[in-house]
């Protein structure tokens, strides 16, 4: 079954002091994962950014697997990040534009990761800049068919976020799928699905996320 999972963390909305307290981060990171910070060259990155990077990987992995197993419960500590690789260039840029979208991640400075949950092995790509962390999880290492988007919005109200991310994705899918009558609904488990209006047939798996003044989507149109 095709799936995708994504997550966005607004680094302007996190509590940096609290994140650095062991009582907080030890609810998210295992001792092995905490060691990754020192062992894998991440120590140049603020520790709070590292903690939220791992959070975003775990949450994205959960969203990926929840589509396959709707009964799944999110338990951050049970999603094990066992590999994390810095971008070759490691040039962290500011988010100077209001939105950015793409398909695949060719020629981009990305963080690659691997996440284990039980017998499942998942792969991740993350984009980090001073404003946000965005992670996307896939079942294979091939992300060529993963579409993604990140947008700055005007209002952080949850209802506004929800409408904004759906409009953002639908605008993109109209050009990708070349259908005008697409709507984003939810299946019985509350997982977002893209439908042709009037039809109950799911067209492709999508994942939506929002935090503070930022929204993001991912979709997977691999056959």
């Amino acid at each position: 079954m095709r799936s995708t999972g994504n997550d966005i963390v607004s680094l302007n909305a996190i509590n940096k002091t609290r994140t650095k307290q062991s009582g907080f981060y030890s609810k998210i990171l295992s001792p092995t994962e905490k060691n990754l910070y020192h062992e894998s060259g991440f120590a140049k990155m603020p520790f709070e950014t590292f903690v939220w990077l791992l959070w975003s990987l775990k949450e994205s992995a959960f969203k990926y697997l929840q589509r396959i197993n709707p009964e799944l419960i999110f338990s951050p500590i049970k999603f094990a990040v066992n590999h994390l690789q810095l971008p070759a260039g490691n040039k962290i840029k500011n988010f100077e534009i209001k939105q950015t979208e793409g398909v695949g991640f060719k020629n981009m400075d990305i963080f690659k990761g691997k996440i284990i949950f039980g017998s499942d092995i998942l792969y991740s790509i993350s984009i980090i800049n001073p404003e946000y962390i965005v992670s996307i999880v896939n079942g294979t290492e091939n992300f060529e068919n993963i579409g993604w988007g990140i947008k700055l919005i005007k209002n952080s109200d949850p209802n506004y976020q929800s409408i904004a991310v759906r409009e953002f994705l639908i605008d993109k899918l109209k050009t990708v799928l070349q259908f005008d009558n697409l709507v984003i609904g939810k299946n019985q488990q509350g997982i977002p699905i893209v439908l042709k209006e009037g039809s109950e047939e799911e067209t492709l798996p999508v994942s939506l996320s929002h935090h503070h003044f930022l929204v993001a989507y991912s979709y997977n149109f691999a056959v």
């Binding site: 963390v9 609810k27 949450e59 509350g190």
Partner: protein, 89 residues
């Protein structure tokens, strides 16, 4: 503490993390933290940490996993308070 007393305190723990103040006044056991109160998942750890401080309890991973709606939050907090009281006897 009765469930009602825990609920009243729990509302104060949750309040900083929801913009849905109207719903917060009328929450019941079935109220879902994410779906109904629109709490961002990034704040779930904050709620657990704040609940630990408020009730002076420790919430382990397995118990934290159960804290999905108001009813299960009260269940976990109530159980941890009882365990703490047993230890002091």
């Amino acid at each position: 503490m009765t469930r009602k007393e825990i609920l009243d305190e729990l509302k104060k723990v949750i309040a900083p993390y929801t913009t849905n103040k109207e719903m917060l006044d009328s929450i019941n056991d079935q109220t879902d933290l994410i779906k109904d109160l629109k709490i961002n998942s990034a704040n779930l750890v904050d709620i657990i940490i704040d609940a630990e401080a408020k009730y002076q309890i420790e919430i382990d991973y397995d118990s934290a996993d159960k804290m999905i709606n108001v009813g299960t939050c009260i269940d976990v907090i109530s159980e941890k308070i009882s365990q703490k009281n047993e230890e002091y006897r």
